[in-house]
Symmetry: C2
Subunit: 165 residues, 2 copies
DNA sequence: TTGAAAATGAAATTCATTTTCAAATAACGC
DNA sequence: GCGTTATTTGAAAATGAATTTCATTTTCAA
């Protein structure tokens, strides 16, 4: 599940964590929900990594900061984060839902190794243009698209040929 | 779940059904499995439609031809068809796996209405080129890609504005 | 025709996700 | 601060699609 860094975007700074937290708090107020310590802790854990996390994986990270926080709360908070644009779901087609934080990040696509689950992020503005173009052609009000490439990474190919069963 | 026809590809002819059946039979022999009436019936039902069917939906169609065929056999046969290239899974991101037949069809992508579930098929060779290009750049041996656009179709938008709750 | 291997279909199981519920907590006005 | 009330929480239960199990039936090569 390791993920190669192919861009030079820095990790999230203290400043940015605060700003993201503000976004969440404003969202909560807007929809009449409450600010809680759990939600803040979960957001901070989520921002800490650039990985594509399952609810379960995030729950494990969260528990390092506060072992009393339950899986259900992580699950529900992830939905809230998606609602206010801080998180987005990435479907790697491996049967479980994954999320990545979307705060201050370039939009990008993924190429996934079907053998080890590793992934590479890449940028492809052409594809976003296609969304607009096709939407216009068939009169859809488009909101998003998914583009993913599947294959086998170099490491896995080497491992395969080293030990041909 | 209706799907607009945007190309002029004809429905599958008797001739083609036979050819597809041959592909399945050869595959079965190759991997040491047996030819059965159930598998043939399921394949024929599957070729009958150009829709994107869930296992359950296909099972219902199959039952019209032979009510004794069980869900499990449909499920297993769909995997076999995917193995020999006659079917491919399309993930519309609605939580259930869908398949479409791939026999004698142009490869294409989908734009899906998030409100009614309807879809439009479109062709976009640029995207396939991107698969090659990105794969080469990051040393992946690519096998496939998914490209889907999500939005709201014209009909649904009209319905929305007609009855604003 | 026959025996071994595979296929079948109902039922059971799995497993991620979602819901339920009683107890704890946050927010608002006073 | 205090009380009120709606929301939140986390454990447990429920859900539901996908998958496996298993006893029985069927295929097919010899
Ligand atoms: Mn990513
Ligand atoms: Mn299609
Ligand atoms: Zn790999
Ligand atoms: Zn629609």
């Amino acid at each position: 599940m390791l993920q190669k860094r192919i861009d030079d975007q820095p990790s999230i700074s203290r400043e940015m964590v605060r700003e993201a937290q503000d976004i969440l708090h404003r969202h909560l107020k807007r929809v009449g929900l409450k600010q809680t310590a759990q939600r803040d802790t979960i957001l901070r854990s989520f921002l800490d990594t650039r990985d594509h996390l399952s609810t379960d994986e995030l729950h494990r990270l969260v528990q390092k900061k506060d072992p009393s926080i339950g899986y259900t709360t992580v699950y529900r908070t992830l939905k809230l984060l998606a609602e206010c644009g801080l998180a987005s779901e990435v479907a790697f087609h491996d049967g479980i839902a994954r999320y990545e934080h979307q705060y201050n990040r370039r939009s990008h696509h993924h190429m996934v190794c079907t053998q080890c689950g590793g992934s590479v992020e890449f940028f492809s503005p052409e594809v976003s243009q296609l969304e607009q173009e096709i939407g216009r052609r068939y009169h859809y009000a488009t909101t998003r698209h998914t583009f993913q490439i599947y294959g086998v990474c170099e490491d896995c190919r080497n491992k395969n040929s080293a030990q041909p069963a």
